[in-house]
């Protein structure tokens, strides 16, 4: 497997003149912008990793007088805090990425769906948005951005639940198809992109696709911002080139006693020490929206798992059976096994249930509960039982 090693990159927070990039993008055709993003191989930075260029291409191909760019700033994955930093430090680039995306797909409206807990930065963002609007009007953009606040539900980070929430409804995922590119917010063609994705796209326009592709691996182009937390002497935000192994990551960020790394938050995968070297952080190995939680040997993986399951049991929207009831069963099941009220072999039934949830749940939330469950129980079975 390709291994690029651990390299720090300065792209997202790089000082640039947003106006220049926006002027450059304004002179490009929709197809040119999309081609640039396609060539860059950029994949969504929220975690799911859908190719951004394709998303824009599909949305651009839809015939509709009303289209939307939605910026998903409902950063709710446990252990992720990079979008907060990006919005605090380079909101112009977020707004700029939206304007460029709007130009690419033919949308005049952008909506930022901001995590409820980030309300404290709304005033500053609104002020910055005002001057941003003025600037793009001067260039000639016909584009407007609005902010909508979330209210703290994790599920509203799921794209279609997010649309429902924007529309003032209960945040529940929709049936797909139709996909957002065809029918998104207000049932209009919508490209919904993560905060970081939009900034990265803007930087690709700035530096060109070629510059971007020199970073990362074939499956995971470029760099991304990591939120490092847990048992580490250096918690915080770090922009790193994609394509390093967990071992290389731990060598830099670990405290010398790292037992496991949870890559991708509660919905991601737990990598145990014995697999550090062979596991690449990226779409070819363990994908992540940025969350990197390190655990040292003082931590009980049962407590870690219990915490995640507790979280999912509460944060499931509750509409579909596998997720609503499945999460409760996984939680209650490991509790019973721990207490000795259920046989250790009951974990085998729960592993099968986790498999069913992965393929039968309605949305990404329910489908990814099994990731953490299977990787923690699979690698730390003794800690769950004893």
């Amino acid at each position: 497997m390709e291994n690029k090693g651990l390299n720090k990159v300065d792209l997202i927070f790089e000082k640039i003149e947003p106006k220049e990039v926006l002027i450059k993008a304004f002179k490009m055709s929709s197809a040119e912008i999309i081609q640039n993003i396609l060539d860059s191989g950029l994949k969504g930075r929220g975690g799911a990793g859908f190719p951004t260029g394709l998303k824009w291409k599909y949305t651009a191909a839809e015939k509709s007088s009303e289209k939307y760019i939605v910026c998903n700033a409902d950063e709710g994955e446990p252990g992720t805090f990079k979008d907060r930093e990006i919005l605090e430090r380079v909101s112009d680039k977020v707004h700029g990425g939206m304007a460029i995306a709007g130009k690419a797909i033919g949308a005049k409206m952008g909506i930022v769906y901001l995590r409820g807990e980030y309300r404290y930065m709304l005033l500053k963002l609104m002020i910055e948005l005002d001057s941003f609007h003025k600037m793009i009007k001067e260039i000639g953009y016909d584009f407007n951005i609005e902010y909508r606040m979330g209210s703290g539900a994790y599920i509203c980070g799921e794209e279609s639940a997010l649309f429902e929430s924007i529309e003032g409804k209960r945040g529940e995922p929709r049936n797909k198809p139709p996909y957002p590119t065809v029918s998104g917010v207000f049932d209009k063609p919508t490209s919904i992109n993560n905060v970081e994705t939009l900034v990265t796209a803007m930087m690709i326009i700035q530096h060109g696709a070629k510059n971007f592709t020199q970073y990362g691996t074939k499956d995971s182009r470029g760099s991304k911002v990591f939120s490092v937390s847990g048992d580490t002497p250096t918690p915080g935000i770090f922009e790193l080139e994609l394509g390093m192994s967990v071992q290389q990551f731990v060598n830099v960020f670990g405290d010398g006693d790292t037992k496991a790394v949870q890559v991708g938050g509660a919905s991601g995968f737990c990598v145990p020490r014995k697999k550090f070297a062979e596991t690449i952080i990226g779409f070819e190995g363990v994908p992540t929206g940025g969350s990197m939680m390190l655990f040292n040997s003082s931590r009980s993986m049962y407590n870690v798992l219990h915490n995640y399951l507790d979280f999912f049991t509460e944060e499931s929207c509750g509409q579909c059976t596998p997720c609503r009831v499945g999460c409760q069963q996984l939680l209650k099941g490991v509790e019973k096994v721990k207490k000795g009220e259920a046989k250790p072999t009951y974990l085998n039934e729960l592993m099968k249930l986790a498999d069913s949830m992965k393929i039968a749940a309605k949305c990404g939330l329910g489908q990814s509960v099994g990731n953490a469950f299977k990787s923690i129980v699979g690698n730390f079975r003794e800690e769950i039982i004893y």
Partner: protein, 593 residues
């Protein structure tokens, strides 16, 4: 057309067809639970998952449109395992006291359990972990959250079909549940008691409140004289709960069965349906005269029918400013109730305090209506107990009657005679048709100008129907109506009622008379009718109603000999002082939250 493969069989369907429907075309059965023909797609129970070649996950066949080249398999190991898990999960959060449950053997979850989850439980019982509420506050139905599997059929029914949303989803995750506004008891929210949710609940989470035991007690009480009335729509649906196909008429057998159950007198709501036509038809003509001849600007037109207690509660909550437009007539059930304890008691020489009045209704809202304080004009509670069609079927089974082999019997007298006009009250448009048959004849002295008295424009399943009847050749007393065009409209299902009421509120409704029934299809689709329900079942029942009408000798309300007699002996004339005292009422404004 879209071509796809399901279990290696080719099928072509129109764009937009779901995988589930495509499979149905091939006679491949995919189990479902949250899916219902009358409602929008939910895709949340996941029971109908199937495998699509090349897809990362299984897909919900009810929610996924067929697309070109799809390769679907409905019975792979992956599908079977996941489906079994899903049914087991549902069972783990469902209080499965099946043998004690009112829905035992008519429960969709139970059927699925029989197919997929027999034997040991895989998962832990979750029911004990939750504090479940059993809401018995409504006089019409019981909402038992411990049996709820969150399919949201009730939620969709209440919003899509009835425009009420008395119940909605609240909370999330493990705490997600179906609740009323602010968790108030169902008796204290905007709920019309229509029971459409009860009709569509796949489990026993929503069931009618039964009064079967109270009725048995009354029957076996030697001191009591128990009269029973049967609503028009019951006779075309009761059979479904007793092994007949939808749309079979069992009127005669039902009358015999009721007699065998021990009711003192088996009478017919159709009689008071005819009476309603006399009272309501007269009321309409009086209002028209006041408006057209006397120039009275305060007359409330259009006039609305008032037979459907679900609709009454709807207008009380949602459009109270139009309460004066309601006909003041009580519903046939309540007219019957009050007359049973006055006219009937007098004629049969029975102490009215000894009379127990029972009604068999296709309706759950009628239970609420019978409890209304307005419904005590006889000096007693006019109707003591209301049973649904389903409850009657239960009583017949309890009594061990061999229903299929019962002789056909006739209703008792008095208040047992009826006409075809009374029968068609059971279908949407029926009250209108019955009213027109009588009113037109009063005004012109001739029968309505429709072949065989069948006023087809007001019939059928369209949500909103309109018709215009030109009045020509009036008799002297009604000369002022000469040449007038009587404009009428009909709506069934409260979402359609709301459409008409919006027009009325905006002043855009050109109608004189509007019939509204709360339930889709009218009473034949009522909340107390046999489960399941769908459009085809309702159409079959509707056909049966009109067949019943065609088979009657008398088909106009004013020709009912017992109606003629009651006016002669007791009420004097329609809208008389006595009529107003007993048969008319006024309703009240209620909060819209």
């Amino acid at each position: 057309m879209i071509n796809l493969l399901i279990n290696d069989q080719k099928v072509s369907v129109q764009a937009g067809t779901t995988v589930l429907a495509a499979a149905k075309k091939l006679k491949i059965n995919i189990p479902t639970l949250c899916n219902h023909d009358d409602l929008c797609v939910a895709g949340n129970c996941r029971v109908c998952i199937v495998e699509q070649k090349g897809a990362r996950t299984l897909i919900a066949s009810c929610a996924t449109p067929a697309s070109e080249g799809m390769d679907i398999h409905t019975n792979t190991l992956k599908v079977r395992n996941a489906r079994k898990h899903i049914v087991e999960l549902l069972l783990s959060e469902h209080r499965a006291d099946c043998t004690k449950c009112y829905k035992n053997q008519n429960c969709e979850l139970q059927s699925l359990a029989n197919e997929f989850a027999f034997g040991d439980h895989i998962f832990l019982d979750l029911v004990e972990d939750h504090k479940y509420n059993i809401d018995r506050s409504s006089p019409s139905f019981i909402k038992d959250d411990s049996k709820c599997i969150r399919c949201q059929r009730c939620v969709r029914t209440c919003s899509e079909l009835q425009y009420i949303s008395a119940i909605a989803v609240s909370n999330k995750g493990a705490q997600m549940k179906i609740s009323s506004f602010n968790n108030r008891p169902m008796s204290h929210v905007v709920c019309t008691n229509c029971g459409q949710c009860v009709n569509r609940c796949p489990t026993g989470a929503l069931v009618e409140k039964t009064y079967i035991d109270q009725v048995w007690d009354a029957i076996y009480d030697p001191d009591k004289h128990v009269v029973v009335q049967t609503a028009p729509a019951v006779r075309v649906a009761l059979g479904e709960d007793l092994g007949y196909d939808p749309g079979e008429r069992v009127t005669g057998k039902m009358v015999n069965a009721l007699r065998q159950l021990g009711f003192s007198s088996v009478l017919d709501t159709d009689f008071t349906a005819d009476l309603t036509i006399m009272e309501e038809g007269t009321e309409l003509l009086v209002r028209l005269k006041k408006a057209l001849v006397d120039g009275d600007k305060k007359v409330s037109l259009p006039m609305f029918t008032s037979c459907s207690p679900g609709w009454i509660k709807f207008i009380e909550h949602k459009y109270p400013e139009f309460l004066p437009n309601l006909s003041t007539c009580k519903s046939p059930q309540q007219m019957f109730g009050v007359l049973a304890k006055t006219y009937y008691a007098k004629k049969r020489n029975i102490d009215p305090s000894k009379i127990v009045s029972v009604s068999i209704m296709p309706c759950t809202a009628k239970k609420f209506e019978a409890d209304r304080p307005e419904m005590r004009a006889s000096g007693f509670k006019d109707v003591d107990f209301v049973l649904t069609t389903r409850e009657l079927a239960v009583m017949i089974k309890q009594a061990g009657l061999d229903f299929r082999n019962l002789e056909e019997a006739k209703y008792d007298s008095i208040m047992g005679d009826s006409t075809g006009a009374g029968v068609i009250f059971g279908a949407t448009g029926g009250v209108m048709e019955a009213a027109l048959r009588t009113a037109y004849e009063i005004v012109t002295g001739r029968e309505v100008p429709f072949g065989n008295l069948n006023i087809t424009p007001v019939r059928g399943m369209d949500g909103v129907k309109e018709a215009t009847v030109k009045i020509e050749g009036c008799v002297d007393a009604w000369k002022f109506l000469e040449g007038a065009e009587l404009k009428v409209a009909i709506a069934h299902g409260l979402v359609n009622a709301n459409k008409i009421m919006k027009l009325v509120r905006e002043g855009k409704a050109p109608y004189h008379f509007i019939e509204i029934m709360a339930c889709p299809g009218g009473c034949i689709g009522g909340g107390g009718q046999p489960i399941p329900t769908n459009m085809q079942i309702r159409k079959n029942r509707m056909k049966a109603i009109y067949a019943e009408d065609e088979h009657m000798v008398l088909r106009k309300s004013h020709e009912n000999p017992e109606v003629i007699a009651i006016y002669k002996e007791f009420l004097e004339k329609p809208n008389s002082h006595k009529s107003h005292e007993l048969l008319h009422t006024h309703y009240i404004e209620r909060d819209n939250y």
